[in-house]
Structure formats: structure tokens, C-alpha cells
Amino acid sequence: MGERKDERPIPELEGLRAPRLSGRDRGRLHERILLVAEPILARRRSPATSWDVLAKWARPGLVAAGVALLVLAGAWQLRSDPEPAAQQVALSDALAVSESGPVPALLLASNEPDADAVVVAALLESQAGRVPSPDEQR
């Protein structure tokens, strides 16, 4: 029953219909639209010159060129100012016996030790029978 009813329009909706435009209103609306559209129509009438095309692309072109320049400058900066390569601790430095033995000397070094230095230092330390405490390791 309800379904059949929903297949019919709602009569009250008639009240929301637009008022009919009088001939004068129609003419006024028509003129008004054409007046506003005239500049666009005029633009469409005149064929685009190469300058128009260039002007249209000028802004995106400038932005793209700016971005490209920035990227190039960044790349140039990176190449001319390379980060100093990490210098490894030489074996002789690692073996230099400080007051507390070779391992702390190794740990105090500002650069990372190479694998040989670590192995040699560990061997020396184990021969000395001394295992560094976790605090010392840190």
C-alpha cells in the first residue's frame, strides 16, 4: 500500500514550483546573461597568438624554473661541501694504553674503531683477565 503510494508524486510539492517568468522577465534574463558572457565570447572570437600562449605558460614556467634552480643549487652545495668521511680509529691508537687499559682508550676515541682494533683490544683485555664493567663500556 505504502509502496504504491510512494510511486505517486506528492501533490503538495506543486507549491515549490517556480513562478512562470513573464516575457519581459525572460528577455531581461536573456540580455543579462549575454551581457556578462560577452567578454568571454570576445576572447573566444580572437584566435590566440603565440604571445597569449606564452603568457599563459609564463607563471607555471617560472615556478618550474625556480624549482629546478633550487634543486641544482642544493645538488651543487652537496657536491662542493661533502661531509667529512668518518675516520676510523687506527690500530695503534686503539692499542695505546691509557691509564685504565686499551678498552677504555678505544671507547674514549671520538671515531668508530675498525674491526681489527676491536678484536685486538678484546684479546689484550681477555689476556689481562679484565672484563670491562657495563658502566665502563658505556
Binding site: 505517486r8 506528492i10 515549490l16 514550483r17 517556480a18 517568468l21 525572460r26 543579462r32 546573461i33 565570447l41
Partner: protein
Amino acid sequence: MGPTNGGESPVQDEPFLVERARRGDREAFGTLVGRYAEQAFAVAYGFLQHAEDSEDLVQDAFVRALERIDSLGRGSPFGPWFYRLLVNAALNRRKYLARRRTEEVPATTSSRESPAVDSARSELRRHLASALGSLPPELETVVVLHDLEGFTHGEVARVLGIPEGTCRSHLFRARRILRELLSEYREHG
């Protein structure tokens, strides 16, 4: 499309008119305006319920259509494309206007009846307009185009870019919701 412009039977010379309007021909564009402006106004009014706002909207829709006319495929019918543009603009405009003002729905009927009857009728219109506006946009569009403006299901489907069956079910759902809202209004005033 609808009662005046052929969505079902596209006007023969329309692709030719569109082509000329594309090249800036004032007369061709004027012919398209003459064909669609009146019904465009009625559709806009279905959404906005305000004559001046509807005229503004129709003007903007035609200008926008002219600006984007290159995106209309060669040989494609102007009507469905233009009404889609108009409906989207109407939904956006109403959102914008709703934020800006809460204006009463103006009465369009002449007041030959008593002020009490007039007032009740205008209250009902206001309620109906707000119920219609509360529907999801696609349901509201189907009601405005089909029930208010007499578009066929095929025409509405082409405007919305949906299958005809979906259009029918949208209309069915929309009417059911509107009837419920209307009966609630009648029961509780």
C-alpha cells in the same frame, strides 16, 4: 530536455550551435540561452526557492558553461551537461546562502484567500522546502527535476550520470522520506 528542451530527442542543430559558441558566436550562444534559460531558472528555483538568487545562479551557470564549453565532447548534447553544471552550482550556492542567512521562503501565491489560509499555506511551503533540502543531494535533485520540472527518468539519469533504475529508486526513497516528514509535520504542527 524536460518539457521544453529535448534530452530524449536532442535538438538537431545543437552540436552546430555549441561549435559556433565555442568560437565565440554571440548569436549561437544566445540561441542556447534562449532554449535553456527559462527551464534552468525553474530548476534553480526548485533548489533555492528564491527568484533573484535563481536568476543569479542561471547567469553564473551559463557563464561557467561558456568558459568550460571546450570540455563538452564534440557532438555531445548540451542539455544534460549544462543541467549537471547548474545542479552542482545550485547545491553549492544553497550551502553558501544557508551559512549567510536564514531567509523566509517567499510566498508566490496571490492572496485571494484569508490571511490564515495564506499563512498556513506559506508555512507548509516553508516546511516542504526545508524537508526537500534535508534530503541527500542526489535524492533532492531527482525530486526537483522529475516531480517539479517534469524531466523523464531517462533525462534525469543523463543529467546525474546514473542508470535509469537508480534514478527510479532514488525517487521512490525520496518520496517516502518526504511523506514521512510531511505527516510528522501535520501531526505535530
